[in-house]
């Protein structure tokens, strides 16, 4: 984002780097650690907790307060250049007292590296982490999904709403361990609440994205929307 240079995959590798090959006989635990972790320790010191290598993939635990700095640095530093946010997700363990984990999967296309960042959240503490949307635009919907399913807040997210369940959903966050598989309400109550939702609501001018794209819409659509018409009728 800060550097407009076009970088092709593998372009930042030295000229004498070996040709990429499919890894063979990757050990379950151990093996070569992603060099980015050592660089992170040198840069951020105590903010980087333990790290582990599982199936050839490196995981680094990061302090919650420094997460946005760490991600920003990983994205911008010319020796790291993690330009692709693969996924944002979260894990809750069955054992009581185990902290929740929020997980970021980062990939550096120029350096051919994969790095997994984790932040641990105490279940009783505030469930919130910094949003990485300022660095990766693609984190928008991923963070909304984590919020919807786990109830973890993302500070600084531009539009933190439910994304899979409808916005009026009242039963909680379905992927939490204390959420019953069939939901909290009775079946008839679930149906009644679901049917009360207006299927047109997402295509109205109230929807943020439509309002933002209003200027790009064809003129006739603009006029119809401005007159209050709902689509699909």
């Amino acid at each position: 984002m800060s550097d407009a240079r076009v970088i092709t995959a593998g372009g930042a590798l030295p000229a004498d780097a070996p040709a990429p090959a499919t890894p063979r006989r990757v050990p379950h635990r151990g093996g070569a650690e992603n060099p980015s972790v050592a660089a992170l320790r040198a840069q951020f010191g105590g903010a980087i907790g333990r790290s582990e290598v599982v199936w050839g993939e490196t995981t680094a635990f990061v302090a919650r307060e420094r997460l946005l700095d760490v991600v920003r640095w990983l994205h911008a530093d010319p020796h790291q250049r993690y330009d692709y946010l693969v996924d944002v997700t979260a894990v809750e363990f069955r054992d009581a007292g185990q902290p929740l984990q929020v997980v970021w999967h980062l990939r550096s296309l120029p350096h051919r590296r994969f790095l997994r960042l984790k932040v641990e959240l105490a279940p009783e503490g505030p469930l919130s982490v910094p949003s990485v949307v300022p660095v990766y635009q693609s984190a928008d919907w991923l963070e909304r999904e984590v919020y919807d399913m786990f109830g973890i807040g993302f500070d600084g997210h531009p539009d933190l709403r439910r994304i899979l369940m409808w916005e009026q959903y009242r039963e909680g966050h379905p992927l939490r361990k204390d959420f019953p598989l069939r939901g909290r309400f009775s079946r008839s109550e679930q149906l009644r609440q679901a049917l009360a939702a207006n299927p047109e609501a997402h295509y109205s001018m109230n929807e943020l994205t439509v309002a933002e794209a209003f200027g790009d819409l064809p003129r006739d659509v603009q006029e119809r929307l401005a007159a209050g018409e709902r689509t699909g009728e």
């Binding site: 069939r182 939901g183 008839s188 149906l191 009644r192 049917l195 299927p199």
Partner: protein
Amino acid sequence: MGLTPVPATGGGGASVALDAPNSEGWIATRLDFLVNWSRANSLWPMPFGTACCGIEFMATAASKYDLARFGMEKMGFTPRQADVLICAGRVPLKLAPVLRRIYQQMPNPKWVISMGACASTGGMFDTYAVVQGIDTIIPVDVYVPGCPPRPEALMYGIMLLQKKVMGERLRNDATRPDVEPDPTSRLYIPPSRIDELSEPFGNSVHQTRSAP
């Protein structure tokens, strides 16, 4: 040639037979029969495919099984020009108001086929997110079991629906009851019945609503 109606022998209603001696150029039949015959043989489907049953429905509609043989040539991807809603696949609760809106947008007369285990009962998706049978939100005429049903099973369901259409009487509402939803809950099955049917069964204590 002359065609005269043959009296109904079972529940199927009248049919038309060739009256050889009176081979004039006229047909005598009941209006019921004519209307039902034309309706049953031009059921335009509104495919509502949400899952793997939708794939099987596409196979049914494609050349090998060829739904067009049943007069279902035109897939109405708009409910306004459709007669039979074929709900193929599981319906999430978030989609329930959409499915009901689509059903309401279809012109009368209209029929519904619930294709597959998930659409009929929720199937194995006994979870917080899935409607446990679309008959709770719209009336259903034919249930096709299977996971997913083979094209033959869907065609058998369609032929059953055609038989049902042929049995309808314009003057007799009992053959085509107009199902109205419950006025307070707007559900087609009483809420108490829905809760009773969806209670946990067996010893799966981890699936009850009260379990932590």
